[in-house]
Amino acid sequence: MKLTIERSALLRSLGHVQSVVERRNTIPILSNVQLVAEAGALALTATDLDLAIVEQVPAQVARPGGTTAPAHTLYDIVRKLPDGCQIELSSSADNGRLTVKTGASEFSLACLPREDFPVMNEGELPHVFHLACRDLRRLVEKTRFAISSEETRYYLNGIYLHAKSLAEGNVLRAVATDGHRLARVEMPLPEGAAGMPGVIVPRKTVNETFKLMEGSEGAVELALSDSKIRFTFDSIVLTSRLIEGTFPDYERVIPTDNDKQVEVDRRVFAEAVDRVSTISQEKSRAVKLALTKDRMVLSVNSPDSGSATEEVAVGYDGGQLEVGFNSRYLLDIAAEIDGENAQILLADAASPTLIRDVSDASALYVLMPMRV
């Protein structure tokens, strides 16, 4: 293999693929990125066996071929090379080295044979549909904070993506929960997605996809079966296993008749929560919301560090109520509300509480109160 490539193009692609590569690997070749040069393009592939990413980048290929080289090292080298330079990558089968050359710099990296690089077999992906990156990004952004990292309930370690028919029309829904909070965001169902199975997309896949969509105004093609999902962007293909298992019946925990309605300025509320929680204990982070007519008093009482209260004007007429929440969870949700006002719907101090964006019906959040 021998090729010349523009440094910024290589850096960008390496940046994408190297983040899939785990820092520690028991299988050495998983630390490597596969480089394959063919017909005017370099294909870079990285995988952790659950997730594989392939990116094509234009290059002047002098001699087709391929190898695998340490991903993080190669990325660091390219990052440190001067901006705007042309990089020559070459390898030959006999010495097992990848040579990286530009100007006065020359590196030689230990390689592993390309034939040993694991290929993810994606199988048949019968359900194919297209989305605007912007829309998929929104589904991910507004739900991923609620993904659980609990190992025992591995089926909560991702976003549950599924089609749903509603009276108002069919939607594509993303749901995530860790048991304490739940986020549900939807969008009109794209054409071709009607028959898709409900799938649980793992956290890492979600995060990598999110990064790839940053700033993109284009479209993404989703193709999936009940065990794999593939995201295809212009020059990048990301294929991932799905989490096997059944996502819980989340609809049962979304309250429908919470009648105590609070309307509050999202920013004012978040800032007040943030301020009073300064003194809350590291572990519980509980903040108490005391509601009376058109008034909310937020307070934190910590036996060790002191107390704090702050009053916020709200729209409320549901009778006196005191309820506690984890302040961080409140802040996480408040951060996902784009509109000016948030609506909080309560039943009592122990039941699931609904939080919504007043100006956006397509996203909703459920939060369990804490005893305070």
Binding site: E151, T152, G179, P248, M370, R371
Partner: protein
Amino acid sequence: MAQGQAVTELCRDCLRLAPASPGARCPACGSPRLLRHAELDRLSLAHLDSDAFYAAVEKRDRPELRDRPVIVGGGRRGVVSAACYVARTYGVRSAMPMFKALQACPHASVIRPDMAKYAAVSRHVRTILLSATPLVEPLSLDEAFLDLTGTEALHHRQPAQTLAALAERIEREIGITVSVGLSYNKFLAKIASELDKPRGFAVIGRSEAPGFLASRPVGIIFGVGQAMQRKLAADGIRLIGEVQGRERGDLVARYGAMGERLWAFARGHDTRPVDPAGERRSISAETTFEADLADRASLEAVLWRLAEKVSLGLKRAELASEGVALKLKTAEFRLRTRHARLAAPSQLAEQLFAAAAALLAREVDGTRFRLIGLGCDRLCPPPPADAADLADPDAGKRAAAERAVDRLRERFGAGAIGKGRGVFPARPPR
């Protein structure tokens, strides 16, 4: 015993405390059970240890066994939990494998442990101890530390007298005997209670402590386990006397914080207070199988029973757990321990089981196991535990069901009701 000091004498039967008399019997009541020590009226920290506790309780309930060897322990593959003093004369010891114990003493009566009964007796003993001082720190079901400092005015008795009275009351009311160790700190009190077993009363005073300790192995120091003993032996230290000769700085430089402890304990210094809360750091249970097990269903059936046991321990102690540990011992005696964190603190058997079963699933690979254990670490207070869970809407119902089962068991006994999976192994997966 220190020279030049007036020796005090306590009659353990009539509680007479006076300067030592010349005879072998109490001048007041004629009892031979006299305890003489120069510091007897100045020591107030005690360790009380029940003699062959489980076996003693069983003998109390079955008087026909009184003079026969009794071993409390479980199963063919189990170990001896307790051996009565008759059985001990045949060489039976606690923690000895049952088959060995029965080789040594084939005619012993073997009784399966009834932990609920022992716990009830233990609570009764604790009530009696608490009548003397609130500073009672239970170490296990059958032993506790007591700090009787400053109780003279209350009881109009010296601590030594109070202790003799407590031992007498436990014998009379409960029907088991205890041994008392009296000293000026926990370390020495615990050593003292071993010196005169059974039905004993031993004293270690300040002046005699370093001399007494010098000839003892370093292993009796709290925190000096087998690994530390090996390390010390490699440095030529086996006895506490050999530590006493070392500089404090040297010990600290060589063994770190442990060196500091060695230095202090070797001199008979121990500043640990008697802590009635006796904070528990973990609760666990384990079982050795009658025959090695390899299949998941059978292992899970045992695991469920352990989960129930540990859960009961948590509920009784009013604690919840944030993490579980699974322990497996292979047929080749290789130990595997695996840990998982719970999503939220829990004291429910259901939750502990679910987490441990997930760990177990990864270990079942055809290996034959001889032992399984389940432990809870990261203990915390229960209030926030088991709140409703958005990812598991039925958790509340299951928690309520478990608590209902607990109430039934409280009324009708542990065998009154249980889950099928604790009785029959689950059907193998299709």
